[in-house]
Amino acid sequence: MDLSFTEEQRLLAESVARFLEKEYAFEHRRAVASADPGFSRESWAQFAELGWLGIGTPEDQGGLGGGAVEHMIVMEGCGRHLVVEPYLSTVILGGGLLRRGGGSKTALLADLASGKLLLALAHGERKSRFDLAHVETSAEKSGKGFKLTGHKAVAFHAQLADRIIVSARTSGKTTDSTGITLFLVPRDAKGVTLLPYRTVDGLRAADVRLDGVTVEASAVLGAVDAGHDLVVAAVDEALVALSAEAVGAMAALFAQTREYLKTRKQFGVPIGSFQVLQHRLVDMFMALELARSTTEAAARALGDGDADYGRASAAAAKVQAGRQGRLVGQEAVQLHGGMGMTDELPIGHYFKRLTAIDTSFGNADWHQRRFAGLTAAS
């Protein structure tokens, strides 16, 4: 068994690291995040040029035909540099759903890979917490199409997207897994109202209100009533991608904290000479390594073909990323003392992103419970 990267994967990792190192300094990120629209079209075009947007797209559709491991490599870089562009929303979730939805929609993957098409997923609702089967938003038959009514909570990057993938109930009760259908809705469709905002980690999201939005039957992504399984599979990939982003953020925090302990002096010596602080840094290091191992294992598991194994591995990775990410974030702030509390240093920004990652698509408690359910019989 060989757990190292293939030659192509190694080259990708190098190119991601080199590019972001050069083009994505923290002050660039700060400037982009704090002004509208909250991301850089220029960076997005560069990502397209580098091939990152089409990594998961099959080769016959103009992509690189990669999978979860390649996405992990890019997302780790995003975490390390706190990238604000909608890679998760557009490439992992949007691309993942287009690929799985099949049919005529796969044609859109070319626009996605070239950077022309931005996507967002509006699935979660006020009362769903993290349950992907909980959909109250309704899709009523209306002529040949559907009429969508409901409220979607905290849809990441929805205000930037050209089209929003909206889930709605075409049959069944609120928490039934069958009866959910996905629709591709233009962001500016009549009846779509966004409440846009920044999120606490400097990214963008919006609540999406749908007041009788009419869509054609051709807006359906996948099959009617069969949206839940698509979302679950795409979110599994998102869980691993988010875990990889967390690993990148933890790696950055670990490196910066190590450097700080070596240079900050109190009592006439570098504070890193206090053994008690060395041990705290060791704990951060271990957290990082364990999260990295689980994430890599999960990325491989998703490509393995054993769906249950992939699912449980993705949940495990997200639990590790959530818990270890919180620990590393909190410790990095603490070991920086007052400096760690400032907006000026990147430390707090990584800490906030790690907090948001834990909360996104289910926190550690949630996925731990899922994991228990998925593995009880095995």
Partner: protein, 398 residues
Amino acid sequence: MRIKLDAAHERFRDEVRGFLDKAVPADIRERCELGKRMTKDDYVRWQTILYKQGWVAPGWPKEHGGPGWTTLQRAIFDTELGATPAPPVIAFGVTMVGPVIIKFGSPAQKAHFLPRILKSEDWWCQGYSEPDAGSDLAGLKTRAVSDGDDYIVNGSKTWTTYAQYADMMFCLVRTGSDGKKQEGISFLLIDMHSPGVSVTPIVTIDGGAEINSVFFDNVRVPKANRIGEEGKGWTYAKYLLAHERTNIARVGLSTRLLRRLKEIAAQEQMDGRPLIEDPAFSSRIAAVEIDLMALEATVLRAVSGENAGKPPGPESSILKIKGSLIQEELTELMSEAAGVYALPYHPEWFEPGWNGETAGPAYAPALAPTYFNWRKVSIYGGSNEIQRNIIAKQMLGF
């Protein structure tokens, strides 16, 4: 769950709670419960209400305007006050510099400053930390050079909480450079309106700006504003740091946060049921609640019975460490309870009077920023690492 007291102290607690509950102005209560930032006016209004009741300085001797309570009564009061949905009494005047002035101040200093603290006429800030003197406070470099009846002060302080509101700063400065670092430090009371004092805000990770850098450019400070002797400032500063023992645990604040956490967890839904009924989440709440009981019991042990008359010792460090960890856990759980609605960031919402639309439930906007901001409690006032060093050295004999 709260620890029960004997009948007499239960009566005292009821009396205190009865007053506090009615005394908080409705608008302050509402904004405080929501976790909005308190304005200077909010603090002053609330402190004035407490002053009129004679309760603003519960630790002061009666002759200086304190209520004359026992340490146990004071601990009970502090807890009830902290649990009240109102801003905390700003510690810099009442609990920090006040006791130093009472113990070491000149008659003129007492006569001038103490009544002004009680009436909230002066807002105080604490000028200890400097960029290169944090945990190693004795490494401070701000200099005061003698010039007739005055000192000329040059240097800078950092992390100074609420310096933007302050009329006065109690400040550690270097007046001599011989001997140990702790020698040659003096304790000055500096008028923040003096020429040469400038204050610049430091934005914190939650987006707020409660801390500042303070710069002194040839600031003239009368020697009459020095506490005690020149070069003995370290002794006075240590007295101040050790003076606190009941309020440092902040049992009251944590009690209020715990109540809010339960309210939020009762309103959030998981699997179609209130989140508070989820066994995993309720078990995490119970764990921190039991920790809080342990802390409250430790405070009560430290201030009652044979301990009542003793001066506070290194056990304050236990209260500081455990108290801060409990507050951090509670603010984190509150933020987690709100699920994805902890994520929308509405900085305008914190401003008084803003009435725009926010995403999610009304209690959501403050939760994550409060969690971020609250990481400070294990850093300031002597970090938890420094507190552990104190315990190891002073209690365990290392």
